[in-house]
C-alpha cells in the first residue's frame, strides 16, 4: 500500500499509523548550505543525528553528566547555527538543562532555561522518525526563546496559547521540514493554530511565511497584540489598502477566537476559518 507523504498542509491531520510509515526526507535548502561541517552532518544525516543523540543517552546511562551536557551542547550548536542562517536566531539562554520524568519533550522557561527531556529523547530514539521529532521539539523551544518573555506574558498564554504555540510550531516546521528536509512526527495538538495563521494570510492576501516571520519579532506574550499591525504592515508593503479601524478590531476579535487555548481539542476546518477571516476584511 502506498502512503501519502505529508507535506506542509496543516489541514492534513496525519495518519493514525503515522508512527509506522517510513520517513521521507529531503536535502538541505540553499539557506542551510552555510552550516559548519559538524552541524551540516547532523542536519544532513539521520545516522549522525542518532549518533549524537546516542552519545547523550550513553553518557546519561553512565551517569557522566559533563559528557551528557557536552553532547547536548553539540546538538544545540547545530540547532542554533541553522536558526542563525535562517534569520531566526535564538535569544539569550542561561542554561541548556536536561530534564527527566515529565512527559513533555522540552520547554523554555521564563527564566531563560531551555529544558530537553532525556527520557523522551530516549523513547524517541527507538523510532525511525524519533530523532527528527526531537529536533522539531528543540527548534520549537528555541523559537519560544527568541527573546526573553514579555512582562505579563502569562495573560496572553493562559487564554490564547495558540498565538505563541502556533507561531513556534509553524516556524519549527519551516526550519525542520522545509529547510532541513526532516520528517518529524506532527501530532494534532497544534493543528488548529497553524491553519489559523495560514487562512489568515490567505484571506488577507499576504504571504504565510512573511506573517509568521513578522510575528517572530515579537516576544512571547506580545504576539496577540502584534497580530493586526503585522497583517496591516504586510498588506501595505504589497500596496494593498490599509485596514480600517473597524477591520482592525474585527481581525483582533477573530484572532482571539482562533487562537484560544480551548481550540486544542478542536479539529480545524479550512472553509470555516477562511470564512471567518474573509468576513473580517470586508
Amino acid at each position: 500500500m502506498t502512503r501519502l507523504v505529508r507535506g506542509d498542509d496543516p489541514f492534513d491531520r496525519g495518519d493514525p499509523a503515522d508512527d509506522t510509515r517510513p520517513a521521507s526526507r529531503g536535502p538541505l535548502s540553499d539557506d542551510l548550505q552555510g552550516l559548519a561541517d559538524a552541524s551540516r552532518h547532523i542536519w544532513e544525516s539521520l545516522a549522525e543525528r542518532l549518533r549524537f543523540i546516542g552519545e547523550v543517552l550513553d553518557a546519561e546511562t553512565d551517569g557522566d553528566i559533563p559528557r551528557m551536557q557536552q553532547g547536548l551542547g553539540q546538538i544545540d550548536t547545530a540547532i542554533t547555527e541553522a536558526l542563525d542562517l535562517l534569520g531566526l536566531p535564538r535569544g539569550p539562554i542561561d542554561e541548556l538543562a536536561p530534564a527527566w520524568g515529565k512527559r513533555y519533550a522540552g520547554r523554555k522557561l521564563p527564566d531563560c532555561t531551555l529544558q530537553i527531556n532525556i527520557d523522551i529523547m530516549r523513547r524517541m530514539s527507538a523510532f525511525e522518525r524519533g530523532p527528527d521529532t526531537t529536533f522539531r521539539t528543540w527548534v520549537h523551544e528555541s523559537i519560544h526563546g527568541r527573546q526573553p518573555y514579555a512582562d505579563g506574558h502569562r495573560q496572553e498564554y493562559d487564554a490564547w496559547s495558540g498565538y505563541e504555540e502556533g507561531l513556534a510550531e509553524a516556524l519549527s516546521r519551516l526550519v525542520v521540514r522545509k529547510h532541513a528536509g526532516l520528517d518529524p512526527i506532527e501530532p494534532r495538538d497544534y493543528h488548529y493554530f497553524l491553519p489559523a495563521y495560514q487562512t489568515l494570510s490567505e484571506a488577507m492576501k499576504i504571504e504565510y511565511e512573511a506573517l509568521i516571520r513578522a510575528l517572530w519579532t515579537r516576544p512571547a506574550g506580545r504576539v496577540r497584540t502584534g497580530l493586526v499591525a503585522a497583517v496591516d504592515d504586510l498588506r501595505r508593503a504589497q500596496s494593498l489598502p490599509p485596514l480600517t479601524e473597524s477591520q482592525r478590531v474585527s481581525i483582533a476579535r477573530a484572532g482571539d477566537l482562533s487562537f484560544a487555548t480551548v481550540n486544542l481539542s478542536r479539529a480545524p476546518t479550512r472553509t470555516t476559518m477562511l470564512t471567518l477571516w474573509r468576513g473580517r476584511s470586508r
Binding site: G14, P16, K102, R103, A105, R107, D189, V262
Partner: protein, 74 residues
C-alpha cells in the same frame, strides 16, 4: 482508561487552564491507560503537556518575581 479518553481529559484540563491539574492527571493515570499510547499519541500528549508545563513555569516565575519584590520592599 483508553488512550483517547486519557488524551481528551488532559486536553480538556489544559483548555480550561487547569495546567497543574493536567500535569498531575497525566502522571497519575498514565499506568491505567490500556492499550498503551502509540508513539503518535505520546508525541501528542507531550505537546499538550508542554503547553501545561509552560503555563505552570510562568506561574512559578510570576510567584518568584512577586516574592523577590516582597523581599526588596522588606
Amino acid at each position: 482508561m483508553t488512550p483517547d479518553e486519557y488524551l481528551t481529559q488532559v486536553r480538556e484540563l489544559v483548555a480550561s487552564s487547569q495546567h497543574a491539574e493536567a500535569l498531575a492527571f497525566a502522571d497519575d493515570h498514565a499506568a491505567a491507560v490500556e492499550p498503551p499510547l502509540s508513539i503518535v499519541q505520546e508525541v501528542s500528549l507531550g505537546d499538550v503537556l508542554h503547553i501545561a508545563a509552560m503555563a505552570v513555569g510562568m506561574d512559578e516565575d510570576a510567584a518568584r518575581r512577586r516574592s523577590d519584590k516582597t523581599a526588596e520592599v522588606a
